[in-house]
Point group: C2
Chain length 252, copies 2
C-alpha cells in the first residue's frame, strides 16, 4: 500500500513528521506538503502562478516534496505531475488545531483529503484539537489503525473522513464517536488598529460561538473525550431544495 501524506501546516510541521513515522510502519509513504504554512486556505488552488516542488531533506534523509502551493495543489501535483503511480490512500495531517464545525470549510487539511477523494482515492484528514500540544503520537496511532481499516469501511464514492483527536492523554480517550459537522455560527472579533502611517487595519482575533448540545456533533464529541470521525462529501447540492425550488422559480 502506498499512502500520500499532506497537510496544511507545512512540510516542517511536527504533526506531519510523527504521522509519517507511524504510517511508514504499515505502508510505503510519499509526502507532498506545502513549503510554507497554508492554514485556513480552504479548497484554494493555484491557477495563475507556476508551482514548484522541491526535494526536502530531514537530517540528511529525503523526507518528501515541498510544494509552493496550497494543500489541494499538493495533492493535485502528486496525482498529475510528480509521480507515475497513484497512491492508494491520502492522509492529511496531523493538523495542529481542531477542524470541527464550520472550520471544516476553512481547513486546508480537510481540503487535501477531499481533493484525494475527488480523485477516487480513499482519504481522511486528522487533526489534534490543540494549537499548542505537540502530543501527536495518539493521533498518529489512530491514523495508522484507521488506514488499515479504511477498505473494510466501504465508504461510498465521494465520501472521506474528517477525524479530530482530543489533545488529552491517550489513556483518557474514551473511544471513537461517529459525528456530524457542527453548524454553530461564529461571531468573528476583529481588532481595529492604526499602523504607524495612520492607516487602519484589522486583526482577526478568535470568535464567539453559539453552543450546540447534540453529543453527536464533532466539537462536542472531542470535548467529551472522544475521537470524532465525521464522514464528509463534496456534493454541496441541497437536494430537498432542488425539488421544492423548481415550482417556486417557475416564473422567474
Amino acid at each position: 500500500m502506498k499512502i500520500l501524506l499532506c497537510n496544511d501546516d507545512g512540510i516542517h510541521a511536527p504533526g506531519l513528521a510523527i504521522l509519517a513515522a507511524e504510517i511508514k510502519k504499515i505502508a510505503e509513504v510519499v509526502i507532498v506538503a506545502p513549503a510554507r504554512e497554508q492554514s485556513a486556505m480552504g479548497h484554494a488552488i493555484t491557477m495563475s502562478d507556476p508551482l514548484r516542488a522541491e526535494e526536502y531533506y530531514k537530517n540528511g534523509d529525503f523526507f518528501g516534496w515541498a510544494a509552493s502551493g496550497t494543500p489541494a495543489d499538493c495533492v493535485k501535483l502528486a496525482l498529475f505531475a510528480l509521480f507515475d503511480d497513484r497512491p492508494d490512500m491520502v492522509i492529511s495531517g496531523i493538523n495542529q488545531g481542531s477542524n470541527t464545525g464550520i472550520n471544516t470549510l476553512y481547513s486546508g487539511t480537510v481540503s487535501a483529503a477531499t481533493e484525494g477523494r475527488i480523485n477516487d482515492i480513499p482519504s481522511f484528514a486528522v487533526s489534534l484539537t490543540s494549537y499548542t500540544s505537540k502530543e501527536f503520537a495518539p493521533a498518529a496511532r489512530f491514523a495508522s489503525k484507521l488506514a488499515l481499516q479504511m477498505e473494510s469501511l466501504e465508504l461510498p464514492k465521494g465520501v472521506s473522513l474528517n477525524v479530530n483527536v482530543p489533545a488529552i492523554p491517550e489513556d483518557e480517550i474514551k473511544g471513537v464517536r461517529i459525528t456530524r459537522q457542527g453548524l454553530a455560527v461564529y461571531e468573528e472579533i476583529y481588532h481595529r488598529r492604526t499602523d504607524p502611517k495612520g492607516s487602519v487595519y484589522f486583526w482577526l482575533d478568535g470568535e464567539r460561538r453559539q453552543e450546540e448540545n447534540d453529543p453527536h456533533i464533532d466539537e462536542r464529541a472531542v470535548r467529551a473525550g472522544y475521537i470524532s470521525v465525521t464522514p464528509i462529501h463534496y456534493d454541496l447540492t441541497h437536494y430537498q431544495t432542488v425539488q421544492t425550488l423548481s415550482e417556486k422559480m417557475v416564473n422567474l
Copy 2:
C-alpha cells in the same frame, strides 16, 4: 433592502460594476471586494495577517471597499468590522467564468455567498460561463430579479444559491433550470518546465473531464442554454454514512 456585493475577480472587475449598477435600481448597495484578483481561493480566510480595507473610487465617486484578503474575508469584514448594520442579502459576482461542478469547491465567488449564508443572510453567487465575454448585463438582470424573489423562495436555513448564466445572447437563454452540482472528475494537466536557472516548475493548464449526461447537472444545463440555479449548503456531513459507520468502526 441593503445588499452587500462581493466577488473574487477583484473590485476592478467589470462583472461587479455591472452587477452593482443593476442592483442599485432595487436596493441600497454596499461593496466589499478583494483589492486584487482572488480566483480559485475557495473558502480560504486570512488568520495570520492583518487585513486592510480601503475606500475605492471610480470616476471620482465612492464605489466600495477594497480589502486585502479573500472573498470570504470580505464578507466577514463587512459583517463584523466595517459596518454597524448587517446587509439583508449577499450577492457575489458576477464571476468571469463558470462555477459549476467540482469548480464550485474552488470558487471564491461561491464561498463569499456561502459565508453570507453561514451568518444567516440570504445569499447567492452568480457567474457568467465565459472567461472572455464581457456581456454581463443579462446575468445582472437575472440577479436583480432573483434578489427580489429570494424571500418568496423560502430557502431553508443554511441554503444559498449558485447561479450560472450561459454566455449567449439574452434572447437565446431558454429559461431557468434548478440543477445539482456536477461531480465529474477532472484530470488535471500540468506542464513541466524548466526556468532559466535550471529549476523545474509546473503550470496548471486546463483539464480533461468526464462527461455527465444528466440534464439536471449545472454544467449540462448551461451548455443547453439554461440559467442553472443550484441550491447548495455547507453541511458537508454525509448522513447516510454516519449511520452505517457507527457499526463498522466499533472495534477501532
